[in-house]
């Protein structure tokens, strides 16, 4: 835990200063998690503010201070899930072009020697975002929490409020789907490159 239980209790009892201190301690981690969950840096702060807004108005529902971190993760997951669903509705039409955009971007940056590291990171972000956009929001969030954030099954159990076996099944299926999406995406990129030549 990054904060003392007393601090959480104070925030629960309506102490705004204690709440501000909690936000200050957790915001860096939450911003990082959200950026990896949604994959769009420009909207990360907006979603993170939404998470802390939800936290402020739901602190009284928190049973004990001990479960604060899974609770905060759960709020983060819910906010990211809502965001992704909104985005999916908004971008449905242009999602199919993402792989092509990715190829164009990759090719455009391939020859340049300026800031190669930065370009590589951007390519990785685009590739993973494109791949994850082909699976459901549920799968995306679960995979990012497990494979990118590195959360254990026990931690996921606390966030999702489901039994370990049910989680394993969901994870198994999500992995299958993302591997299929990865193979399809690789194939598409290879075809687009071949067509360009």
């Amino acid at each position: 835990m990054l904060v003392e239980f007393e601090e959480i209790e104070l925030a629960r009892s309506g102490d705004d200063a204690a709440f501000s201190r909690i936000v200050s301690v957790y915001r860096k981690r939450i911003l990082g998690t959200i950026s990896r969950l949604i994959g769009r840096p420009e909207d990360v702060e907006d979603v993170a503010q939404d998470v802390f807004l939800r936290l402020y108005f739901s602190l009284d529902q928190l049973r004990t201070a001990e479960v604060f971190e899974p609770w905060l993760y759960r709020l983060t997951v819910n906010a990211a899930y809502d965001y992704l669903r909104r985005q999916r509705r908004r971008n449905e039409s242009r999602m199919s072009d993402l792989s092509e955009q990715q190829v164009i971007m990759a090719d455009a940056t391939a020859g340049s020697r300026v800031d190669l590291d930065h370009q590589h990171q951007r390519r990785v972000r685009e590739t993973v975002d494109s791949m994850l956009s082909q699976v459901s929001e549920d799968d995306r969030i679960l995979l990012v929490l497990k494979e990118v954030e590195g959360l254990s099954l026990k931690e996921l159990e606390q966030i999702y409020h489901v039994k370990e076996n049910a989680l394993k099944v969901r994870l198994f299926r999500a992995r299958q789907r993302v591997m299929k999406a990865y193979q399809a995406s690789e194939k598409k990129i290879a075809e687009a490159r071949a067509a360009k030549k």
């Binding site: 936000v23 911003l31 990082g32 994959g39 503010q49 990171q121 972000r125 198994f172 992995r175 990865y182």
Partner: protein
Amino acid sequence: MQDDQLQDEKLSPELIALFASYRQALPDREADPQFMPGVWARIEARRKDAWWFGRIARGFVTAAGAICLLIMGAIWLPEHSTASLYTTTYVDVVAEDSGPDDALETL
């Protein structure tokens, strides 16, 4: 589904490497200086909305209570104001109102 089978279903090495690169490409980051004021602005906005909603809800409850009282009054008052009309019998009313007829009969 068997537990062993679930455990065996791992990601391909390329995907594991890709996710690790993704983690490195998006490290934990510091918030903008306007982050905290933004959080409080949203909280204040929500509180204000809740306050207005509370006021409107209280207004509705008060109005509903007043309407209930009016309806109850409208039902209760006619019952009591007309009660005397129906407590006397027809014979009593005729007996009370028999003055002029008596006079005629004696004639």
